[in-house]
Amino acid sequence: MLRSPRKPLIHLPHTLSEVTGPVFGPDDVGPTDGDMTRQGQGEPLGERIIVSGRVLDDSGRPVPHTLIEIWQANAAGRYRHDRDNHPAPLDPNFHGAGRLLTDADGNYSFTTVKPGAYPWKNHANAWRPAHIHFSLFGPAFATRLVTQMYFPGDPLFAYDPIFQSIPDERARERLIASFDLGTTKQEWALSYRFNIVLRGQEATPFEGVR
């Protein structure tokens, strides 16, 4: 695909433009945005799960009140999207999109159903491992991150060029959530933990500005 830049990136020492970024607040999040099992007339089909974690910067400090956006396929591996023609059923009760803010300590939690594996036409018999797309802003233009969360033990990891696009095995493994019995809700939903580290802001370089 002819979409990847060939020339090296030019290093940009942070200015005011990079250490600031869009600010979001409670008005940007609706009442059912954090529970994707309550966005339709009834409950979606599939395995109900809770995904929670903490958003930190690269110094280990929590990133409070930051916007997280999520989207995913339904339990059958189908996205509610015009360009998805995978012949698996749509679920009228599952839209597949959510958004939430971290709390003052950087914690987040949302409820959804576990997405199914998803076939795509990248190569013969190509299947994406089950995954949830994550979009985070963090506090600055420089901290913007879009990534994907995976589930432990997925047999498709070895065959997925998107997961394998990260050359470092330890880095890849950080995209795999961990099963967490401690936050599982009895007789309700299994729970996964997915902690997110955003890059940090460089020290403010313009102390003289007033």
Partner: protein, 194 residues
């Protein structure tokens, strides 16, 4: 034990073809304006092209900009001037079948530079698309702005590539500015490591 106790930033992954679902179906921002927004109204049309000059119809574009006075609507902007309360500075759209999207906004003012001077007014732009592993960050400046000669970021860009960071317009439509993002190829846009 949870993973990721080490404070290494998570790797980026592609936004994929279905980002509209979580990002732009319900939460696109094409107009950054209200009736009360201060500054010169402009239209900003951004088109994304691949290495063969073909339209990229499934890209997401985000812009981040200062207000007309060069102040960002962000708590870490230390300038004493108050930010325009009618301007948040953030826009986001998906490209259409022609690879383009259009924002209604204002011309951003000059922004403080690290050396105590000013940066020329500019947009900070993020490009996401299927086939791109990591957000591409670039800037768009106004062609003809006398402040370009002193912009501390633009001077770090090789002279022969600086024009990839310029918004163009026509004298007949002075408030309509146009920016082409070439992902690769001969006209490849300058992308920054931020």
């Amino acid at each position: 034990m949870t993973r990721n106790l080490e404070n290494v930033p998570l790797p980026s992954q592609t936004v994929g073809p279905f980002f509209h679902l979580g990002c732009t179906d319900q939460h696109c921002v094409g107009s950054l304006l209200t009736d009360k927004t201060k500054g010169d109204r402009i239209t900003l049309k951004i088109c994304v092209l691949d290495g063969e000059g073909g339209a990229v119809p499934d890209a997401m574009i985000e812009i981040w900009q200062a207000d007309a006075e060069g102040k960002y609507a962000h708590p870490d902007d230390p300038q004493s001037v108050a930010a325009d309360p009618a301007f948040k500075g953030f826009g986001r759209m998906a490209t259409n079948d022609h690879g383009c999207c259009t924002f209604e906004t204002i011309r951003p003012g000059p922004v403080p530079a690290n050396d105590g001077g000013k940066q020329a007014g500019h947009f900070n732009i993020s490009v996401f698309a299927r086939g791109i592993l990591k957000r591409l960050a670039t800037r768009a400046y106004f062609a003809g702005d006398p402040a370009l000669n002193h912009d501390p970021v633009l001077v770090t860009v090789p002279v022969e590539r600086q024009n990839t960071l310029l918004l163009q317009n026509s004298p007949a439509q002075a408030a309509e500015w146009y920016f082409e993002v070439y992902l690769c190829g001969e006209k490849e846009t300058v992308f920054f490591d931020v």
